[in-house]
């Protein structure tokens, strides 16, 4: 008797729908056991993780704030991945957008510049992100350089550039040498939507991006081309689709969205440019993109869900004294189960009775 994984003839639609639910169910079971081992009441723990943050206007806003950059970046990444273009450097494009947009904020500081400042920052941020993403795309198309490697390495380049700028030319003169620019002027700040909360205009933009992504993929020929080039490159060639052009296009869109997310984060929740503006959003967004199955609506849900686990994790630390490490374990377990369950879409378990004796007899 042996348990083997066997490839299915076609994708199982039932499992595709059920898989995220099974994954969440298994996560909850595992976490329940873990909470019991830790001597915590599992029901209150799960309640604090999943329900408490949703039951309060403040934490709902915070979930949206946390999910905004993740969703925006992940939508762009999903286009790349669907087209078989592997942009791993969204983190760098995020930072580049933040740096380029901040340039306007720093230069106009205290000059009484008008309301054109913020729109200009957002545009420049998106443009810079797109241009920065085009570097690995062009290297790929022209020289065949692996975009995985080049896009990843460019993260560190802009990271150091940002570091240099806030330590040197852009440093807040009143900031006691700490590496940060001065707080941006109000005209250079993303407006908040609700008095006293942190929910900002960027979250609305993220929803617009999700809708645009859904339309692009679902309703347009370009969207169809992107899918075909990724899923069936040979068929795409016969269809006359230009794969190289699509690599450039998807990288540019992805970079622009990452850059936009970057400048929104800096001009919104942070309020100034400093190192450490991103706790790895560009990398976490890769997880969000795949958790959402490269589907815009799925990405929105995945982004919000991941944000929920962050906020719930903090609640659990505060109200139940559950250590932060448990939150990390929790996120890890969830991803593990999602990936494991997803493999059941393409594979199924089968029990075969093997008889090693027969094999031995053949000696």
């Amino acid at each position: 008797m042996q348990l083997i994984l066997e490839k299915r003839a076609e994708r199982s639609k039932t499992v595709a729908l059920a898989s995220p639910l099974i994954a969440i169910g298994l996560t909850i079971v595992t976490m329940t056991i873990l909470f019991m081992v830790l001597g915590k009441n599992p029901i209150s723990a799960l309640y604090v993780y999943f329900i408490v943050p949703l039951a309060d206007g403040y934490s709902l806003q915070e979930i949206a704030v946390k999910a905004t950059p993740l969703v925006m970046i992940a939508i762009g990444l999903s286009l790349c991945y669907l087209a078989n273009a592997w942009n791993i450097g969204a983190e760098g494009q995020f930072l580049m957008g933040a740096v380029a947009g901040s340039w306007i904020a720093v230069k106009t500081q205290g000059t009484g510049a008008g309301h054109w400042v913020l729109p200009a920052m957002l545009l420049l941020g998106a443009l810079a992100g797109a241009l920065y993403a085009l570097i690995p795309a062009i290297c790929k198309v022209r020289f065949g350089a692996s975009e995985i490697l080049t896009s990843l390495m460019l993260v560190y380049v802009v990271d150091l550039l940002l570091d240099y700028l806030v330590r040197g030319p852009w440093r807040d003169p009143q900031g006691f040498n700490f590496p940060t620019t001065a707080e941006f002027d109000p005209v250079a700040t993303v407006p908040t939507l609700i008095e006293g909360g942190r929910l900002h205009l960027g979250s609305i933009l993220a929803l617009v991006v999700v809708a645009a992504g859904a339309v692009l993929l679902g309703k347009t020929i370009k969207g169809f081309e992107i899918r075909v080039v990724g899923a069936a490159p040979r068929a795409a060639r016969f269809g006359g689709f230009n794969a190289n052009q699509l690599i450039l296009l998807t990288f540019a869109i992805s970079g622009a969205l990452s850059g936009l997310a970057g400048i929104i984060e800096v001009a919104g929740p942070v309020g100034h440019l400093q190192p450490g503006i991103s706790p790895g959003y560009g990398f976490t967004a890769i997880i969000v993109a795949f958790l959402g199955r490269l589907n815009p609506i799925g990405i929105l849900i995945a982004g919000l869900f991941l944000a929920l686990t962050f906020i719930g994790g903090e609640q659990a630390q505060i109200t139940m004294k559950i250590p932060l490490d448990v939150t990390k374990v929790f996120q890890g377990i969830l991803l593990f189960y999602v990936l494991a369950c997803d493999s059941l879409i393409l594979y199924r378990f089968r029990i075969v009775s093997s008889s090693p004796q027969v094999a031995r007899g053949a000696h």
Partner: protein, 359 residues
């Protein structure tokens, strides 16, 4: 039916946990925001030890909560506000980078009191506190100059902010009293807590000929490297002798407990007031770990210097202080630099053959 039972059980359990916190509501809630994990064995660990001491002392009157590993970015403001919303009335935010987020939340909640460690922005409900670590650095400089054979010190810096720069300067001024030609090599790791980078910096400094490692970062990684290479080093924030039993000369120990207990008592009495406390050896805001791995005469010298500083007879920044450009720094504090000059220190003293980043 089964489902209803489960639901009822869940409701009971939740209700149970809620009532237990309702009982605790009479206690004063005190919150802490930590930069590193509580197990960093350096900066955050010392704050955590102080919190534990606080609980031991006043545990029947207070309830404490901490959030660890909170990055100094957009998440910090949320972390502070979460503590406020959970009912904490006194909140300690224990890293420089929490200054602006703490101030934002403080403005929003004028009835909650905040204590920010090592910053310079204050408000009616936001006090600041820090320690005069430069005093300890001066002693370490003297010891280092005595113990270094190569005459080259290796210094691992976090960020070139005044606190760190004044530490480097105090070290050099102390060292120069022993060896006027002492050299220092400085590596900035641009992080408070990054054991990997801290270890790499220690290796690089040793490879460049330094034979004593000093650090202004939070983990014992550098001490471990020094220990592996058989070199001497100073610990930081915390007792690190078990990471370098044959290496640690001494360590600056952050001892926050007396301050925390005092401030929480004030909050309980209703006498809490905003302000700035910058204590040194004289108020035990920090202490020196035992002087080890050095000959008796060096130990004696270190103890004498410590006694002199504690008694107020010796000021590490006694005038004249000479800058890198060879010019004397204006002496605003009588016979030593005034506190404002140390808190905003933005220059290297003479003898440091390096450029202050961003200068």
């Amino acid at each position: 039916m089964n489902r209803n039972l489960l639901g009822a059980a869940a409701a009971l359990l939740i209700a149970g946990s809620l009532t237990s916190s309702a009982v605790a509501a009479d206690k004063l809630k005190v919150g802490f925001i930590y930069l590193g994990p509580v197990g960093d064995l350096g900066w955050t660990y010392q704050h955590e030890l102080a919190r534990q001491a606080l609980v031991k002392e006043l545990g029947d009157k207070i309830e404490t909560t901490f959030l660890e590993n909170v990055p100094e970015g957009p998440d910090a403001e949320r972390a502070v506000e979460q503590l406020v919303r959970a009912g904490n009335k006194l909140i300690f935010t224990t890293s420089f980078g929490y200054m602006d987020p703490t101030l934002k939340v403080a403005k929003k909640y004028p009835n909650v009191h905040f204590e920010h460690c090592s910053g310079y922005k204050r408000d009616n409900n936001m006090a600041t506190y820090s320690a005069r670590w430069y005093q300890g650095r001066y002693i370490q400089g003297e010891i280092a100059a005595k113990m270094s054979k190569a005459g080259v010190l290796g210094y691992i810096g976090s960020f070139p902010i005044p606190e760190v720069v004044s530490g480097i300067n105090a070290t050099m001024i102390g060292a120069q009293t022993i060896n006027p030609n002492i050299k220092v090599k400085i590596i900035w790791v641009n992080s408070w807590f990054d054991p990997g980078k801290e270890a790499d910096a220690a290796k690089a400094l040793l490879d460049q000929g330094a034979d004593i490692i000093m650090q202004h970062t939070d983990s014992p990684a550098a001490m471990q490297i020094a220990s592996e290479r058989g070199k001497l080093a100073f610990g930081q924030d915390s007792e690190m002798i078990k990471f370098g039993p044959k290496s640690q000369l001494t360590s600056i120990l952050d001892t926050w407990a007396p301050y925390y207990i005092e401030r929480v008592k004030a909050e309980l009495d209703g006498t809490w007031k905003s302000g700035d406390v910058w204590g040194g050896l004289e108020t035990k805001m920090f202490e020196m770990a035992p002087y080890t791995n050095m000959p008796d005469d060096v130990k004696k010298m270190a103890e004498d210097t410590q006694a002199a500083i504690t008694a107020g007879k010796l000021h590490p920044f006694k005038c004249p202080v000479v800058g890198q450009d060879g010019k004397e720094v204006e002496c605003k504090g009588g016979d030593h630099l005034e506190d404002g000059q140390i808190l905003g220190m933005n220059f290297y003293v003479k003898g440091i053959d390096d450029k202050l980043p961003g200068k």
